[in-house]
Symmetry: C2
Subunit: 387 residues, 2 copies
């Protein structure tokens, strides 16, 4: 186990009917609230009205920034910071998925930033201060509800950048019922995203990390089981709850404790979706099993462990290579069974753009740690991602 | 899964050589430091000198409260509060095990309490404020390094009481090497205490708690494996590290998320050790397997799951009762293999005092939730705890 620090001050408020607590939670922080949200589904399904009503009970002043898109744009961040400055915003309440939350984190710290906001994001520096922030999560996926990461896209530059020490939400309200209305494809992309976060931390050469590794395996087994339940019945409360909890626990620091981590597949996916605006989870579904194949020879043992523990592969009479390859195949099968995309063809992504994407993925140097990847490696993984 | 809240703002600084960071961490909080510790082993093994030297590098003013005993006394809390008031203490640094940390938490909140300190502890109210607190852990056991609980004993009244919302440590430094010098018996008591914390949360009638249950099982499997390693070689770093991490994760709120919990065995043990000053982990070792036998018929399924998952019991051809009983037997065997005490005879505890202990255990009403226990139930469990 490596030395590590773990710190996560976000308060999780989990379960049915917790949304009505939001007014009370927010009112501790001040009067002027910036409510951020996405494309309007929160209005369609009544969540918007419930939130507004809880805030109004406490006589809070509500300002709004709606229309935050997936792969959230720098322009939304700029708009948000402007609203905060003009209205002395005391608290930002993000109602939505990872994109809304990520944009809100960037607004929270951007408010205190002197100078250009895109430079702030590119530099990914140390953020000393942010406007207090709460979230009401509507999509189990990014884990953004319990970490200080945010990914922002600059469409003018076709760049997608992550900041890592921005603002932990002060609280996050996680009501699994708020995910009932998520369409099938986005439910699946969310599940793939969660699995990918586990993979990025699980596949590591650090030794003696048994406890967090078994926790990671549990999250994956839990996801596999509940993904089939939720696709059968989108209103299966316990399955939605398990997936939501898994999503939060997959990227709040816990299962990465004491481990070197990888994150190459995320870097590749970010490069892809900076050029083609595809859903993050879809990109990960395409890329991750190919990353697995590509890096396998750097250490089969971990893939053997993955296969045996997560997919119950019986190791008897099989070579490490056979077990590991079967584990990767099972991963692809799981994604296929959920109808998650398997190839870049699915989104008509041109081979002509692979060079650009590979360049973007490694623009700050080699990526990954299970195997360090240079531009050629990334190109090969992208080329493996075609039919 | 039940609705729940999870909040834990303690920063964990884990690993070799982290003690030297303490001066820097503390200096963020002010100049006047109260250093609390126990019986002097930290002086014997050089930890005291390392801490003092790191604090002095930052020119901090150090006040001391040593001699805090296990089952920490109200008198230590009173002394500590007095020192804080007389010296404008900005920060309390607890160097030791659960007892030193618990006493320090009570000092931290006691400083702001108007009125009698024992009343404060008996009332276990809401604590709004505490003096900032850091810990350097020297014993893997209570989990106090990452929660807001504290157990304090009033010897005049023979009462042992727990407060639950006192003060989360602002940081806790966990260097597994600081546990190398813990003697065998206390290493074992610590392991039993950790296991007991898992049991209290694991054995529950709440349904659909798969993720946290498998996490709890992982902690137990990890403990069983590492307990035999550490008893062979007390300086096995990875084994000490795994046990230390397990201890922290067992009682920081994680594995209790969304579950009704039990805690009857702890209430019984507290009643025993309020009358006889025996180590907490030793008392739990005696009582817990008997509690298991006593409550088994309230729900064998969970004990079956425990046996199959944690002890790899092959369920084929066995009744639930047989599997569950074997699981309890394996628990006792594990404790026996570590030479943890199995009976109250071991400490010459008189049967004449059982009545008093049973009364104390239920003085606020029935205890537990897997099976609600009244005074007669507690008496029976205590009587089962003799040879």
């Amino acid at each position: 186990m490596n030395n590590f620090q773990f710190y996560n001050p976000t308060k999780i408020i989990f379960g049915k009917g917790q949304v009505e607590k939001v007014g009370k939670e927010v009112s501790d922080y001040g009067k002027n609230i910036l409510l951020t949200y996405g494309g309007g589904s929160i209005k369609k399904f009544g969540l918007y009205d419930r939130v507004i009503s809880s805030l109004k009970e406490r006589n809070l002043n509500i300002f709004e920034l709606g229309g935050i898109k997936s792969n959230p744009r720098l322009s939304s961040v700029q708009k948000g910071v402007k609203i905060c400055k003009e209205n002395n915003i005391d608290f930002i309440l993000a109602v939505g998925g990872g994109s809304t939350i990520d944009a809100s984190k960037a607004i929270s710290v951007g408010y205190y930033h002197q100078g250009d906001l895109w430079e702030m994001i590119e530099n990914d520096g140390e953020f000393k201060k942010g406007i207090p922030l709460g979230t009401i999560l509507t999509l189990a996926a990014t884990g953004s509800e319990m970490n200080a990461n945010a990914v922002i896209t600059n469409w003018d530059k076709k760049e997608k950048k992550a900041i890592h020490g921005s603002k932990y939400p002060d609280f996050s309200i996680l009501d699994p019922e708020n995910t009932y209305s998520v369409p099938k494809d986005y439910t699946v992309f969310g599940i793939v995203d969660i699995a990918a976060h586990v993979f990025e931390q699980y596949f590591s050469h650090t030794e003696s990390t048994n406890l967090v590794d078994s926790w990671a395996e549990d999250i994956l087994k839990n996801l596999i089981k509940n993904s089939s339940l939720v696709l059968k019945d989108p209103k299966d409360y316990e399955a939605r709850a398990d997936i939501m909890l898994a999503g939060t626990m997959a990227l709040n620091g816990l299962i990465g404790m004491g481990k070197e981590q990888d994150w190459a597949s995320h870097a590749i996916e970010h490069a892809v979706s900076a050029v083609y605006d595809i859903p993050h989870g879809a990109g990960l579904s395409i890329i991750f099993p190919n990353w697995m194949k590509y890096v396998l020879d750097e250490g089969k043992e971990k893939f053997v462990q993955y296969g045996v523990q997560v997919f119950d592969i019986n190791p008897e009479g099989k070579s490490d290579k056979e077990i590991a390859s079967k584990a990767i195949l099972e991963t692809r099968k799981w994604f296929n069974n959920m109808d998650a995309p398997a190839t870049l063809n699915y989104y008509d992504i041109s081979r002509d753009d692979l060079e650009l994407m590979a360049e973007k993925a490694v623009e700050n140097g080699e990526i990954g740690s299970y195997k360090k990847l240079n531009k050629d490696d990334v190109l090969k993984i992208l080329e493996m991602s075609y039919e």
